[in-house]
Amino acid sequence: MTANAPTPRPGGRPIGRAAFLGTVATGVGSIALLSRYSGSVQAAIQKVSAAVPGVNQIAPTAGWRIYTVADQMPTFNAATFKLKVSGHVANPVTLSWSEVDALATETQVTDFHCVTGWSVDKVHWEGFRARTLIDLVRPAGNARYVTFVSTEAPYVDQLTLAQFTAPGVMVAKKQDGVALKQEHGAPLRLVVPAMYGYKSVKWVGEIRFDAKRADGYWEQNGYDVDAFIGRSNGLTGS
């Protein structure tokens, strides 16, 4: 019964609600401010977390976040892996892992930006270029689009042929010096540094040269087809 009785109205000042409202205001302000200045804030947090051991394990900008659309990540088996290269091409091929692994590779260091607001700077990639694939399969004149089908169904995305052959774009098999890890798309992922990460399809199992444009997984949810960093998905160039 005692708990039901009214607690005598405490005197004092409403500091509690000030703490509540202050916390809410800080949070809402942080959504607004970080949306504008997330780059510099991330750089600052990264500097601090690099200086203090342990912090980099939990700091929000410490690195990758793993986004998937299916419950099970595809598993890579070198003995059974196949990369299908198909569509409007003169020489469609299905490559085994040893054949993929034998393709000429290049390396690059590029930043990775996610449309949700996080970034990873200076990622080392190693993989093959569009040119290597094009020389192999010889696309027809009407093959203006390249579709990357993930083995993580139903993930898929598409670039124009010009975007695929642009500098910095590669199909990577190594990240930071080691073979791609499962959560990063082993054994093959697309890397499109000029665009947000949803264009960089993980677990690539088929590369198809198409005549028609088609929406990718996120485009079907309203995201921009041309996902250029800083000038797509509601952002304008600054």
């Binding site: 019964m1 005692t2 708990a3 039901n4 009785a5 009214p6 607690t7 005598p8 109205r9 405490p10 005197g11 004092g12 000042r13 409403p14 500091i15 509690g16 609600r17 703490a19 509540f20 409202l21 202050g22 916390t23 809410v24 949070g27 809402v28 942080s30 959504i31 607004a32 401010l33 970080l34 949306s35 504008r36 997330s38 804030v41 991330q42 939990i58 929000p60 900008t61 690195g63 990758w64 976040r65 793993i66 986004y67 998937t68 659309v69 299916a70 419950d71 099970q72 990540m73 449309v115 949700t116 607001g117 996080w118 499962q182 959560e183 949810n221 309203g222 921009d224 998905n233 509601g234």
Partner: protein, 219 residues
């Protein structure tokens, strides 16, 4: 028989305790699934769509549960806790100024109400963080479906607020389960009442007002 049972006074109503344990259980589901969504090392532990579903449905269960308790529970006892947490008097301010020293030397603490000043601020800041998490979480959910609602600051704010509430809960768990002078409070949150002697030592203002009220009732 041993010593007589200590005299007890009721600290938290059944509704308040239900609300607390509903919050605690949904919090830990959200913490665990949130960590699976957040830390690459845990990304393979639970599938992302499954972790997201548990994360979202626990948030909804918490909201619906609190709404139900406000509708059919002892509403006054629930809002009473928030009213208690809202106002800080001179003793509370002095208590806060004593600061961390009190963790080691408890003797000269200024008298406190049913909630001490730390508990008041913890309650209100935690409620504020829950609102921030709800807002940023809703934006993350909407932003996945429509890029109009996607803001670069939502995910960082959600993460920072989660870290902040995680540290508060760690402190709360230490005080509720480990710290010698405060851990008796767990009894109040499990069965509802606490030893009067403990209340007189740690929440003197409240214990005194409870005596006055029960004396008035008996008069």
């Amino acid at each position: 028989m041993g010593s007589p049972a200590p005299e007890r006074i009721v600290r938290f109503s059944g509704t308040v305790r239900l609300a607390h344990w509903l919050l605690a259980s949904t919090f830990f589901v959200m913490l665990f699934t949130g960590m699976c969504l957040y830390l690459p090392a845990l990304s393979r532990l639970v599938g992302r769509p499954t972790a997201k579903a548990w994360h979202l449905w626990s948030a909804i269960a918490l909201l619906v549960g609190i709404a139900v308790l406000l509708l059919i529970g002892n509403r006054r006892s629930l809002t009473g806790v928030v009213r208690d947490a809202d106002r800080l008097d001179q003793d509370d301010v002095a208590w806060l100024k004593g600061g961390p020293r009190r963790l080691f030397d408890h003797d000269d603490a200024p008298p406190q109400g049913r909630l001490n000043a730390g508990q008041k601020l913890n309650t209100m800041v935690m409620l504020g963080l829950m609102v921030v998490l709800a807002i940023s979480g809703t934006l993350l959910w909407l932003g996945e479906r429509d890029t109009t609602y996607r803001f670069g600051g939502s995910v960082l704010t959600h993460d920072l607020a989660s870290l902040a509430i995680g540290f508060l809960v760690m402190g709360h768990l230490y005080l509720a389960l480990v710290h010698p002078t405060t851990r008796h409070a767990l009894r109040g949150m499990v069965v509802g009442d606490v030893d009067r002697a403990w209340a007189e030592r740690n929440h003197a203002t409240w214990a005194m007002s409870e005596s006055v009220q029960s004396a008035e009732r008996n008069a």
